[in-house]
């Protein structure tokens, strides 16, 4: 079932060393880091890890990053880092971190913004709507890949908002998944460019867009996951609510200021 407890915190509390095995440039501002854990853990799609960096004088900075890879994917876990120009940790990842570097991580954490397609869960086949703004797609990608890895039949809709076509993280993979027509629907909303595909939008999310996108699902969603900046989450959650999605089934994750 979509476990709401048992987040694995007990098993995950210890810091461990992870080695960066691969770095993938996703967009001009976003890179994915594939981290090989010294003590691998099981996790649920949507969970995050904490990352800790230590300066020579002992000063430490910590941040949380969602895992983007599927729980089923063997090998390193993938975290997706948006470069914040006034940030402390994300510029380190973008400008300094290199393959082979050791980074301290611990996890997995998070017991609410998670989804699991257990075949025996009656709710596992009820439609899910995901709404991601920019790098807010990171935990949603784990959910989407989890569904794909299990070949789950759960109808799933992703409304993915970004400024431009080239800001769409995981774009080719998402487009390919949508091509399969296996119950995964992708709606793209670009705020600063014209839409490129039929059914996409060139504006910010609103009630009408949410209603039209939701109509692609065979039934009303049983759960909604919304992730992005606070302003995005406010706008997206309001749009869903105005389009008839009950507030109680909407789970939100917000980052940044």
């Amino acid at each position: 079932m979509a476990t709401e407890s048992g987040s694995g915190a007990r098993q995950g509390i210890h810091w461990q060393t992870a080695i960066i095995r691969r770095i993938v440039v996703q967009t001009p501002r976003v890179k994915s880091f594939f981290m090989e854990l010294s003590r691998p853990f099981a996790f649920i799609a949507g969970q995050h890890v904490d990352v800790r960096l230590t300066a020579p004088d002992g000063y430490q900075a910590q941040r949380s990053y969602s895992i983007s890879s599927a729980p089923e994917t063997p090998g390193p876990i993938e975290i997706t880092v948006d470069r914040l120009d006034d940030g402390e940790v994300s510029p380190f990842f973008h400008d300094v971190a290199a393959v082979g570097d050791e980074i301290e991580v611990r996890g997995p954490f998070g017991g609410y913004f998670i989804w699991s397609a257990e075949p025996r869960d009656p709710r596992g086949h009820e439609p899910i709507v995901l709404v991601g703004g920019g790098s807010g797609v990171a935990p949603l990608m784990s959910i989407i890949r989890h569904r794909a890895a299990l070949q789950a039949r759960t109808p799933m809709l992703l409304i993915f908002a970004a400024r431009t076509w080239d800001d769409l993280i995981f774009r080719e993979e998402l487009l390919a998944m949508a091509e399969r027509r296996d119950g995964f629907e992708l709606v793209i909303a670009l705020s600063r460019e014209a839409a490129r595909r039929a059914g996409d939008y060139s504006r910010r999310i609103d009630r009408e867009m949410a209603a039209e996108a939701l109509a692609r699902l065979p039934a009303k969603p049983s759960l909604a996951f919304v992730c992005g900046s606070n302003a995005f989450v406010e706008a997206a959650a309001t749009s869903l609510i105005e389009a008839g999605v009950p507030s109680e089934i909407i789970r939100t994750e917000r980052y940044g200021g």
């Binding site: 300066a55 300094v96 959650a237 507030s247 939100t252 200021g257």
Partner: protein, 201 residues
């Protein structure tokens, strides 16, 4: 272990002993919430004090605003790693709520309940003695809905998930009962100075 090539931001002078381990000072006020923002109408707002399942006293918005109003300025620390210094809150101290209800704390534990279903547990000792309030104002203005307005619990010395947004009840419990995040892996107490972020920390 030092991280290759990491120096970190310059540490602001004079704030070192005010920032718990693993935290960074922010000047904005980030918003975190597991659910959409709750929009609570003042004419429907109530705050209820309960002992176990039994309501002891309820206040309307008007009645609650007629209770003694106190201000305090405190540093706050969010489990998502940001700290904000010198935040100014104004509202009703838990001491004054208890006084108005003529209630001595009957147990050692409480659960705060909120519009939208959120809850969090806080020991009585961390609420009384001027340590915590139900805040109605932030920096001299009504608290905005995204920050928990019209009323939020403020327990500044614990991680800020304990400072429940949209609070509408405080319930005394016999046992220390886990709330929303505590059921989902967060620490039962949440002392930022001991980095009690997650269960087991």
């Amino acid at each position: 272990m030092a991280t290759r090539g990491f120096t970190g931001r310059p540490r602001p002078p004079g704030t070192g002993n005010r920032v718990p381990p693993g935290q960074s000072v922010t000047n904005d006020f980030p918003v975190l919430s597991a659910t959409p923002t709750q929009h609570v109408r003042l004419d429907e707002w109530t705050f209820t004090l309960k002992v176990g399942p039994k309501p002891v006293k309820s206040w309307t918005w008007e009645e609650f605003n007629a209770l003694p109003q106190t201000g305090f300025t405190r540093d706050i620390h969010c489990v998502t790693k940001w700290s904000k210094l010198d935040t100014a809150w104004r509202g009703v101290l838990i001491d004054d709520i208890l006084d108005d209800a003529d209630l001595e704390p009957p147990t050692k534990y409480t659960l705060a309940h909120c519009v939208g279903g959120y809850s969090t547990n806080v020991p009585v000792a961390d609420l009384v003695g001027g340590k915590a309030m139900v805040a109605l104002q932030y920096e001299g203005r009504p608290i905005t809905p995204d920050h928990g307005g019209p009323a939020r619990l403020v327990v500044p010395h614990l991680y800020f998930w304990k400072s429940a947004k949209w609070v509408n009840a405080l319930q005394f419990t016999e046992q220390d009962v886990a709330g929303f995040w505590e059921l989902r892996g967060y620490h039962m107490y949440g002392d930022p100075w001991r980095e009690q972020r997650f269960d087991g920390d």
